[in-house]
């Protein structure tokens, strides 16, 4: 207070400051004004209160590409349905958590306490899905759709009546791949997985299912996440000489591994099996191009899927965003559809009614094929597709090899020995 510089401040400075703050306030009100105007016109259309849907998605930071996809999917669904569920208007409140579970929890509190949303969604990454599930379970106020989070235990030990998954789980993917590789690729495999919780979970599920179906895992390797040079692991693979190499490297590590695998000349020798959905990601194809050719991956959705709903979906998405939809967009789109179906079946937005409706087992047609939400696991039973990278006329694309129909989530933890 007694600082001389501060006491001697000129009046001009004060005016400058106030102009600056005024400018900021104007910017804020301008932003807010738009949004209010939008929602205002929606609410006026009908006499009823709008249905409020709140989401916390990772729209900035490392996981923004996932969060953006989900957001686009949600918005596309409600746009196609004129922002209406039944006769009621829909109000979307989407908050950014930047991939930070602490921020996601704050957003959850804000959406439920301040905006009193009727339905909640979030969980672009595993840690956020866990944190939010714990929170909705404790509060028991509002049901939640877990938009991506794939941790198995959300369907087993940590299952909550209030949290429902729309994506896939580790065991649904890796378990199916274990079976598929043993039957179609070969009887010996090496597993290389990123050294953190999700990597351990995926490897555990793959190894157990592979061995159950007659395969033999020769070696399991754990490069740290962020590894840029895989040569020591690759030469170890060469020495072990397996028939298949199963890898799990989400994020930027994946494309690097694929590229180095090809550079080492292992592509012709061993089947490359991707357990982390990076092989067919548009960003991977962009950065490593034809190196993905010959590799196999698993998906619950791919844009080339042959069904009418998907054709329509791809068309309207391309019209709106001028790019090809990925699995995250479908997750978002189905989140919208699931919420609409649940509210229509429940006939109200009372949380007990919503949870009861979800527990009846909701099924609907998605661009990914028919899905049913299994009330035993709060997880969708869905088709899974084994894809292979091919090159046609200089363009890389993915071809459907095999379809596993109506793959359900195991109702109980099979208790595999964890891979460490």
């Amino acid at each position: 207070m007694k600082d001389k510089t501060i006491i001697n401040i000129k009046k001009t400075m004060l005016t400058k400051l106030s102009v600056l703050f005024l400018g900021l306030v104007l910017v804020l009100t301008a932003c807010g004004g738009n949004e209010n105007a939008e929602t205002g016109s929606e609410t006026e259309a009908s006499g009823q209160d709008p249905v409020k849907l709140g989401f916390t998605l990772s729209l900035t930071g490392n996981y923004a590409f996932m969060g953006e996809g989900v957001k686009e999917g949600i918005e596309l669904y409600f746009e196609e349905n004129d922002y209406k569920i039944g006769s009621r208007d829909v109000e979307l409140l989407i908050e950014d958590d930047g991939g930070d579970p602490q921020k996601a929890l704050q957003n959850y509190q804000q959406l439920t306490m301040n905006h009193q949303v009727d339905f909640f969604g979030g969980g672009v990454i595993g840690s956020i899905a866990y944190a939010l599930t714990e929170a909705v379970e404790q509060d028991k106020q509002v049901p939640m759709i877990n938009v991506v989070g794939s941790g198995n235990s959300l369907s087993w030990e940590d299952q909550s009546d209030y949290s429902w998954r729309i994506g896939f789980s580790s065991i649904q993917y890796a378990g199916t791949q274990g079976e598929d590789v043993a039957e179609n690729i070969g009887e010996t495999a090496v597993v290389v997985a990123s050294d953190y919780v999700a990597g351990h979970e995926i490897a555990t599920d793959f190894v157990a299912n592979y061995e159950e179906n007659g395969g033999e895992v020769l070696d399991v390797m754990w490069p740290a996440s962020g590894t840029s040079d895989f040569s020591s692991y690759l030469s170890q693979i060469k020495q072990t000489d397996p028939e298949a190499v199963f890898f799990f490297f989400p994020g930027a590590d994946g494309p690097r591994f694929i590229q180095q695998f090809k550079d080492f000349g292992l592509g012709e020798k061993y089947g490359l099996i991707d357990g982390s959905s990076v092989l067919n990601a548009p960003s991977t194809i962009e950065s490593v191009g034809e190196d993905v050719v010959g590799g196999q991956t698993i998906a619950h959705y791919y844009p080339g899927l042959e069904n009418d709903l998907n054709k329509q979906f791809v068309k309207s998405y391309e019209e709106k965003y001028s790019k090809t939809p990925d699995a995250y967009v479908v997750n978002g789109y189905d989140t919208g559809k699931l919420i609409a179906e649940t509210i229509e079946q429940a006939g109200s937005t009372n949380s007990d009614d919503l949870v009861a409706a979800l527990n009846d087992g909701i099924s609907f047609d998605s661009p990914r094929g028919p899905i049913t939400l299994d009330p035993d696991t709060n997880h969708p039973t869905q088709n899974l597709y084994i894809l292979e990278g091919i090159e046609e006329n200089g363009e890389v694309s993915f071809e459907l090899l095999r379809t596993y129909e109506e793959v359900a989530m195991p109702t109980e933890n099979p208790g595999y020995t964890p891979q460490k």
Partner: protein
């Protein structure tokens, strides 16, 4: 001392008053504000009074939080949990303080950042405590008179810690130890010449601030019931630093105001736009560029100018009165002359 006690009582009254008028959501946010305020005030101590800009403060916050969650699997006694968090963070900050104190300025910043990064990598890479997925706990505070579960109860509990921290920091900075610390910041070689060992005073302040950040982290768990490695991220450390700057560098209460502004901006602006951090960034840049201090400085500035204006008006009125009197006298003189 009298002023300190008075301001503490004022603060206490404010904390008592908030839940009476605020909506549940505002109480929830205010709880967050108080926790962040303790955290920011502790950083404000070493930054504004010790000249030690630390990016390692989130390490202590996270360590306090992790201690509570890890131990809550075995014990639920709040005294044990908070005590353990305090002791552990004190020890950690004492050790890291000794190492970091060998550097100043940007090097100090980098060394403390390294501690944070080490903890971040350990917590996300290990299979203990949920790894990268984080971990939740069901623990509730019970000080011997029932579980504190309601949001108002939680607010008051954290309010007590907040007022205590404020009082402690006020006493510390006005004590000889605090004065020496400030002396070291302003002119280290002179203080050495006077016979003080600057490292001892700096490390003491660093340790005290560390323990306080640890308590803030521990309290955070009672509100959020969840830890994840993000607590150790550079992001958390930088947020606290921004709170200090927005609120007012070199004061005790400033960082607490900064925490309040930060949390409310974050939560309200984010309803309007995804790019709320841009708005916050602009405010931060404005505050740094204008070099007029943070919110607390601006407030006192406004207060001072009001006081000055009133003084001016008062003296003008006085002058007017004097002028009128003089005129009267002149008139009287003329009258007497003419007579």
């Amino acid at each position: 001392m009298k002023r300190i006690i008075l301001s503490t009582i004022g603060l206490m009254a404010a904390v008592l008053f908030i839940p009476v008028v605020a909506s549940p959501y505002v109480i929830y946010l205010s709880t967050e504000v108080l926790i962040m305020a303790i955290f920011a005030m502790s950083l404000g101590l070493i930054m504004g009074f010790g000249g030690m800009p630390s990016l390692g403060h989130s390490a202590l916050f996270g360590l306090g939080a992790y201690t509570v969650v890890a131990l809550s699997q075995y014990v639920s006694n709040v005294y044990v949990l908070l005590g353990a968090a305090l002791i552990l963070t004190l020890i950690f900050s004492l050790i890291t303080g000794f190492i970091a104190m060998r550097n100043t300025g940007i090097f100090f910043l980098m060394v403390t950042l390294a501690f944070t990064q080490v903890l971040y990598l350990i917590s996300s890479g290990m299979n203990l405590w949920g790894g990268a997925d984080g971990m939740s706990t069901m623990v509730r505070a019970n000080f011997g008179f029932g579980n504190i579960a309601s949001s108002t109860g939680l607010f008051y509990m954290i309010g007590v810690f907040f007022v205590l921290s404020y009082f402690l920091l006020k006493v510390y900075t006005s004590s000889p130890m605090g004065k020496i610390l400030k002396g070291v910041m302003e002119n280290e070689s002179r203080m050495t010449a006077l016979g003080f060992n600057p490292k001892i005073f700096k490390t003491a302040a660093y340790t005290l601030a560390g323990g306080m950040a640890g308590i803030a982290g521990a309290l955070y768990i009672y509100k959020n019931q969840f830890v994840s490695p993000e607590l150790f991220s550079v992001h958390t450390a930088a947020e606290a630093m921004i709170m200090v700057f927005i609120g007012g560098y070199g004061t005790i209460f400033g960082p607490a105001l900064g925490a309040g502004a930060f949390v409310f901006i974050e939560n309200y602006v984010s309803s309007f736009t995804d790019r709320w951090s841009l708005i916050l960034g602009l405010i931060f840049i404005a505050i740094v560029m204008l070099k007029r201090g943070g919110i607390i400085h601006l407030l006192s500035l406004a207060w001072n100018s009001i006081v000055r204006m009133r003084k001016k008006m008062f003296s003008e009125r006085k002058r007017n009165v004097v002028e009128v009197k003089e005129e009267e006298e002149m008139v009287n003189e003329r009258i007497t002359k003419s007579q």
